[in-house]
């Protein structure tokens, strides 16, 4: 079976429908599937439940889907740095479910691993625990969190082969490997798509079983949110 597609539009063809749930990899703007996000915008698909750690900035990453009001609900851990989000959230237009970041990661990992729920200490005694089942283990209280799955996971990797084996680069890995596992269909964009045999099997982070479609992005912009350097440790743009 061929997993290789020529671009985001063709890779997403036939997979999109209004009201769908989408997982999108990345932390801030690092390691986001920027080609797939643009293709989702251009598709006009609406009423999306969007599961991602963050929501991008106003004009990049998931933020561009907020702009077009294609997202109905966000499941995220942190959403600063986005005015569009703020406006839609405060007006009640956008539904938001905050998850502690580790709980979000584990819910996605569980979703892809056939584990329907798990217990964690994170959030005990906070609003996160409201309405959730609790249980004692060895004298400590834990809350039950349920798994997350998605109709579609869009993932960014550094290198991939035609069998869908993936290697991520540095901190651009973040949520991508778990999301690849938790998507009913997983579409991956890579910077370098290589022939089978070109990647060392020892180095594979995500085995191809989790990947249904793959394409090489034609241009990764890879924007940086806060450019901090030795000379400019605050990251504010010099005038």
């Amino acid at each position: 079976m061929n997993k290789v597609f020529k671009d985001a539009d063709t890779a997403l063809k036939g997979l999109l429908f209004n009201g769908m749930t989408v997982m999108s990899g990345g932390f801030g703007l690092c390691g986001i599937p920027e080609h797939c996000i643009r293709a989702l915008r251009d598709s006009g698909v609406k009423g999306i439940t969007w599961i991602a750690n963050n929501c991008g900035t106003d004009d990049f990453g998931s933020g561009i889907l907020l702009h077009t009001r294609q997202i109905k609900k966000m499941v995220a851990s942190y959403v600063g740095e986005n005015k569009t989000f703020e406006k839609q959230f405060l007006s009640g237009e956008l539904e938001v479910e905050f998850n502690p970041q580790g709980t979000l990661a584990e819910r996605i990992r569980a979703g892809g691993s056939g584990i329907p729920a798990f217990y964690t200490k994170t959030g005990v005694g906070t609003v996160i625990a409201d309405g959730k089942e609790t249980k004692e283990f060895d004298g400590s209280t834990y809350i039950m969190e349920t798994a997350l799955r998605a109709d579609l996971a869009i993932v960014k990797a550094w290198k991939g082969d035609k069998a869908g084996n993936l290697i991520y680069r540095k901190t651009a890995r973040n949520f991508n490997p778990m999301m690849a596992m938790a998507g009913k269909i997983t579409v991956v964009e890579v910077e370098q798509l290589v022939e089978i045999g070109e990647l060392d099997s020892n180095d594979i982070h995500t085995p191809g079983i989790f990947v249904q479609r793959i394409f090489q992005g034609d241009h990764f912009e890879k924007r940086i949110e806060f450019m901090t350097t030795k000379d400019n440790p605050t990251g504010r743009n010099p005038v």
Binding site: F27, G28, L29, C30, G31, N53, A76, S77, Y78, V79, G80, E81, E86, F89, L90, V96, F98, P100, Q101, G102, T103, L104, A105, E106, I108, R109, T120, K121, T122, G123, V124, G125, T126, V127, I128, W158, Y168, R169, K170, T171, A172, R173, N174, F175, N176, P177, M178, H205, K222, R223, I224, E225, F226, M227, T228, T229, K230, D231, P233, G235
Partner: protein
């Protein structure tokens, strides 16, 4: 005289043990890394998926694939490793991280902490804060002793939504250092020239004085 931010960071740095794996919160806690004595070996964890966080890069070294949890560009060290978010939080929630240093809006006498939202204001989310306070072995808070309006931040019960319950071990403010024990707060160090009465006047929570 009250302690400066630098003094508070230096004091927080003394909480690090040799060989510790440490997670530093965004803002002032990040600065603590600059004050750790050279004989103390430590490894910084960044919850977006890195152990062994290095200093800021030169302009030439900037790599968009290499950021910290504050989304700032950073560098790697010879012993750095990268991993996914689930593994990162396995380190945090599994009790493998020795120390977390973070800021707070309120801390209660029982060690409850509120640092992620103010009702009525824009909510940005808790990020990894709830996981850190629940899972890290020792939690140190660095904060101003009082809010901008003068309100006490060391309180009997937090009025703001909690990040975690009974999780804080040490609180460092510009006035002194507090230890959070099973029976409540103890003042264990005082900034030079500050007296206990002044601290009492500016603190809502009761505390024992155990300054040696």
């Amino acid at each position: 005289m009250t302690w400066s931010r630098e003094d508070m960071c230096k004091r927080a740095a003394r909480e690090l043990g040799d060989g510790n794996y440490v997670n530093l919160g965004i803002g002032i806690p990040t600065m603590v890394a600059n004050y750790i004595p050279s004989h103390v070996n430590f490894t910084l964890q960044s919850e977006n998926g890195m152990l062994g966080m290095g200093p800021f890069p030169t302009k030439e070294q900037v790599d968009p694939d290499l950021i910290n949890a504050g989304k700032q560009t950073i560098t790697e060290l010879p012993d750095s490793s990268y991993f996914d978010s689930a593994t990162s939080f396995a380190m945090i929630r599994g009790g493998h991280i020795d120390l977390a240093i973070l800021g707070a809006l309120q801390v209660s006498m029982h060690g409850d902490i509120a640092n992620w939202m103010v009702p009525g204001k824009m909510v940005k989310g808790m990020g990894g804060a709830m996981d850190l306070v629940a899972g890290v072995k020792k939690v140190v808070v660095i904060m101003e002793h009082n809010a901008k309006d003068g309100a006490a931040k060391l309180v009997k019960e937090c009025s703001l939504p909690l990040t975690g319950k009974k999780v804080v071990n040490i609180v460092i403010t510009e006035l002194g250092v507090f230890d959070v024990g099973p029976s409540g707060l103890s003042l264990i160090e005082i900034a030079p020239g500050i007296n206990v009465d002044e601290i009492k006047n500016r603190t809502e929570a009761p505390f024992d004085v155990k300054v040696s």
